[in-house]
């Protein structure tokens, strides 16, 4: 993104950049080795739901209570697959941010940073 985004020192929200790979933008293979058909809405939705569920369950169990989690499925380059996780407590998001930067997810490294976004209905790129 060409806009200047401030990266806060403290925040409840962790941004996992480009975490979700949209089958509409590139060829996506499931962990079982099946190539997703981008025209098969049911298959694409199930893949998305599986990712959402795994992310949510592990992060809440390991780092702390999650208030809200959103995965962008739009195709614009700077937002593609961005995942926003809002924890209840800032100390949990800080811990999560540090730890997640040293973990793999779906055969890719996680790029985590704190994000100033707390109200997702009002969020827009400034």
């Amino acid at each position: 993104c060409s806009k200047v985004h401030n990266k806060p020192t403290f925040s409840q929200t962790v941004l996992l950049k480009n975490l979700y790979v949209n089958p509409l933008s590139t060829t996506v293979r499931t962990p079982e080795g099946i190539v997703l058909d981008p025209n098969n809405e049911e298959q694409v939705q199930k893949h998305f739901d599986d990712i959402f569920e795994e992310l949510f369950i592990e992060m809440e169990a390991k780092y702390g209570e999650i208030e809200e989690m959103n995965i962008c499925d739009n195709l614009s380059e700077h937002l593609a697959g961005n995942t926003y996780v809002k924890f209840r407590y800032e100390e949990d998001s800080e811990k999560a941010c540090q730890d997640l930067n040293n973990r793999w997810f779906n055969q890719r490294p996680i790029y985590a940073e704190l994000s100033p976004v707390t109200d997702f209905h009002e969020a827009c790129c400034r």
Partner: protein, 44 residues
């Protein structure tokens, strides 16, 4: 009594890219950074 749910078996978490199982995600990101930055300095 509290019901104990069996732990979910993950398909996505902590799965490295094939061929990079021996390095950490941090090391991988550093390597990627070098690959991506390299073409920027090509003299015109």
């Amino acid at each position: 009594e509290k019901e104990v749910k069996p732990k979910m078996k993950y398909k996505f978490w902590d799965v490295p890219p094939i061929g990079y199982e021996h390095i950490t995600p941090m090391q991988f990101k550093t390597m990627q950074g070098k690959v991506i930055k390299a073409p920027v300095h090509i003299p015109i």
